[in-house]
């Protein structure tokens, strides 16, 4: 049943051109606009590249969080899932997995590609990608909580960004230091990376419970 949700959602996303495509499109937009907006200077670009990549990742997760449950809520599927044998917490977890697989993971994997356009230091490709993969798991899980909160509203944009932003900031900070840490002291990379993993583990437990609780309130 868990895999049924995952399989269906991935198929839906592939078929509707959302998910991965959407976040890639978003990041693409950012990457094209940055040189246009702040000048094509190689030095500057290469310096701010990791930050830009992380911000693009965060924004794209933030923006797609709103849609994690929306469609299922509006057509009544979510309600029915509440009547399944599978606990709602696991339904949420499945949704988070799909969200992560389709929006954060492709982004992290294509880091080198986008990095080339921003003249990112090639030695950072692997650490940045790894840090993004780990960090984005937390982002997706927290995104589920935000997505559940904004279900009642049609355009939860402001609410979701204000709600989730404080949660995302630590990930940005640690993620960034994990990505570029290898340039400087090696232990920074390790500590920050461990923090990212700790965040991810904590949210695997906490976020589904929180989100499922909020969803139940919406069924009334």
């Amino acid at each position: 049943m868990f895999t049924a949700i995952i399989a269906r959602d991935i198929r839906l996303i592939l078929r509707q051109g959302g998910g991965a495509g959407m976040s890639l499109g978003f990041v693409l937009t950012v990457i094209v606009m940055i040189p246009l907006g702040i000048g094509p200077d190689h030095e500057v670009l290469s310096q701010i590249a990791p930050g830009i990549m992380w911000i693009a990742l965060l924004l794209s997760v933030l923006l797609s969080a709103d849609r994690i449950f929306r469609a299922d809520y509006e057509d009544g599927s979510l309600e029915l899932m509440g009547l399944g044998v599978l606990p709602l917490e696991l339904v949420v977890l499945a949704k988070a997995v799909v969200h992560w697989l389709t929006s954060a993971l492709p982004l992290s994997l294509t880091t080198p590609l986008f990095g080339i356009f921003l003249n990112l230091d090639p030695s950072l490709f692997s650490t940045l990608g790894l840090a993004m993969i780990t960090g984005s798991a937390t982002l997706s899980l927290m995104g589920c909580v935000g997505g559940a909160v904004t279900l009642g509203l049609r355009r939860g944009g402001l609410v979701i960004s204000i709600l989730i932003l404080p949660l995302y900031v630590p990930i940005l900070v640690f993620g960034l230091s994990a990505s570029v840490g290898s340039m400087g002291a090696d232990h920074v990379f390790n500590t920050s990376f461990l923090m990212l993993i700790a965040f991810a583990l904590a949210s695997v437990v906490l976020c589904p419970v929180a989100a499922a609780g909020i969803l139940r309130a919406h069924f009334r």
Binding site: Q16, G17, V32, L36, G39, P40, H42, I116, F117, N119
Partner: protein, 249 residues
Amino acid sequence: MKERTGKQKLMYRYASPTQFLVLLRRVLPWCTGVTVVLFALGLYGALLAAPPDYRQGEMVRIMYVHVPAAWMAMLIYTVIALASATALIWRHPLADLAGMTAAPIGACFTFLAMITGSLWGKPMWGAWWVWDARLTSVFLLFLLYLGYIGIWRVIEHPGRAARVAAIMGLVGFINVPVIKFSVSWWNSLHQPASVLRIGGPAIAPSMLWPLVIMGLAYFTLYITLHLIAMHTGIVNRRIRMLELRKIGE
């Protein structure tokens, strides 16, 4: 059905899918043959006959792959725009098909131009990619292709997709010169033109003729591919109809 004027009758006669299929099957082998011959000649010229550049050395041979690809990228978008206009004005299904099938080919040529350009750029500029005016506009052209393809892929209803794609094909075409203009404007503003000098010395005849032949080869290759794609498109459409009939029964 609407009354047809004499001119339209003529058009419909040659553009009726069945007639077109007959025509296609007759023309295709010739196109393929010409393409093969031209490529043989062109590659011989480019790889063996043409001299290495005095500044770029053997590297210059990328040019023979790169430049015609870039030409094709621009040409094919024009074809799409023409097809779109035809589709909007005469509502002919073959025009839709022509646009739909041309786009992936165009995207491939554009991608080829970008890849070969990057391969060339790494030794020449020391970077795979720079946000120079020409590169930026090629990149955006690539996105225009992808967007156009995306419309066909993503809108389920074929009739809708055709109209939307036609409108967007035209909008994109109007936009191409605007992009080109604005990006060179932006570039000249932020960055003196002296930093990047695309191209070396004026082209010598010994380098020119392989280039021209490669250009022709690319062109016939495109024609061949497009005809094949349209052929497949028509056949697919028929298969789909048959399948739907079967569902109905």
